[in-house]
């Protein structure tokens, strides 16, 4: 073995030891500060964790990108939705008067809100883009009330870490971390472009999460559960997306 390769071997060894040590430290820091996403395991885990950790460190509090009114899409695309259930048709026939949004989990005051209750809360609007993971997009004005206001009223307990949310359709569910749940642009959306939210776009009630891809903005929202332990839900990866092969964090 000549001296150069011995020196290289030593350098290589030191570099390998340093990176292993660095990884161990990074893992502990990431766990401590909640930088590991629920689907942060498996072969795609390192990539997901890097993305989520960077986004949380850099963009946790930045507002969503908003657009001028002139950029609102003339022909927004509603995408395919599952055929409405009998229950949905019954509620629709009644003008959605009996539609309820249940708020429970690790909150001091669980609630059941009608659409009228939600309309009585401070109304806000945002002109933001829906970007689908397939590649297409549109811009619309969304009218509703921030989820954070409802969560504050319900009294989120301090150890809460995620907000799980369900649509009317069986088997679908999503979750977001508290940074996204309390973000001022995360809306309980009741209206779109100066009218009621149309059914193909998720009416009567849709969660809008403009800083993530469209699949996180669930249509036909009926139930919001605050939790301190995401592992208890489904396969423990934060939503049904990872079960279908899609990442939980869709802010990319």
């Amino acid at each position: 073995m000549n001296p150069i390769s011995r020196r290289r071997l030593i350098y290589g060894g030191v570099a390998a030891a340093a990176s292993l040590g660095g990884l161990a430290v990074a893992d502990r820091v990431a766990t401590r500060y909640g930088l590991i996403p629920p689907d942060g395991g498996g072969i795609y885990g390192p990539g997901e964790t890097l993305t989520y950790a960077c986004q949380r460190l850099l963009t946790a509090r930045v507002p969503a990108r908003e657009f001028p009114r002139s950029m609102i899409s003339k022909n927004p695309f509603a995408n395919a939705v599952a055929p409405p259930t009998e229950e949905f048709k019954r509620l629709q026939a009644g003008g959605f008067r009996d539609w309820r949004l249940v708020v429970d989990g690790t909150v001091a005051r669980p609630m059941s809100l009608s659409l009228a209750d939600l309309r009585s809360l401070p109304s806000q609007n945002q002109i933001t883009e829906v970007a689908c993971e397939e590649g297409w997009s549109y811009i619309a004005e969304w009218i509703g009330t921030p989820l954070s206001g409802v969560l504050r009223e319900a009294g989120v307990l301090p150890h809460s870490r995620y907000v799980v949310y369900y649509p009317m359709e069986e088997g679908l569910w999503e979750s977001i971390d508290m940074a996204d749940a309390m973000h001022p642009h995360t809306f309980l959306t009741l209206g779109m472009n100066d009218g009621d939210l149309p059914v193909p776009f998720g009416g009567p009630l849709r969660l809008r999460l403009p800083r993530q891809l469209g699949y996180k903005s669930l249509k036909y929202l009926t139930h919001v559960t605050v939790t301190d332990d995401i592992k208890k839900f489904g396969s423990g990866k934060g939503s049904v997306d990872p079960d279908y092969g899609y990442s939980w964090y869709a802010g990319i």
Partner: protein, 228 residues
Amino acid sequence: MVRVTHWLTVVAFVALLVTGGEIVISHPRFYWGEVGNVNTRPLFVIPIPASRSTVPTSYGYVMPDQNGWSRYLHFEAAWVLLLTGLVYGIYGLWSGHFHKNLVPARSDWTWRAYRDRIAKYMRRERADRAEENTYNVLQRSAYLVVILVLFPLVIWTGLAMSPSFTSAFPATAELLGGRQSARTIHFFVSWLLVIFLVVHVAMIALSGFWSRMRAMITGQTRDSEEAQ
């Protein structure tokens, strides 16, 4: 270090290319501007069936949907590419690799130097001894364009499609003309990289595939062995 980062880039690039293709299949329509969807007039459409039934194509057939794992792998490979690129960039500057091996010599900053080298390729002349251990002016220029223009541009246009990243840095999308423009540019820059790859591999094949491969894997060339 140059060789290790080269091969890591190869692995990441192949993964990005395959998964990127899979993602395009779910919506093989391209637009210019901020928004675009099936209700919008496209800039162009790739004439292939889509993997989603909501996209109108001239085929009565929907391809199998592979977007899930493709997206997971695309973004993981993007991280490998980015981190490898950072290591290579820092090493390249620090060790003088860019200056020594990639920036064309001052005397070669003329059209004549390029023309001469192209003529030499056209005559299928063998590389002379001086060129065996270094890059000629065309190689240097091509590599620099890939390293300094195409890869940064493909990373930028990729990030300009991220809803969260563009919320923090809206200019990254606006400067390109919008999110859909970024997607379209991302697609074309990927093609430029593929064209580079094809020419690059063809040149290696012409100049002796195995000797070049051995050089890029072990770092040994005929000259360096004879010198030992």
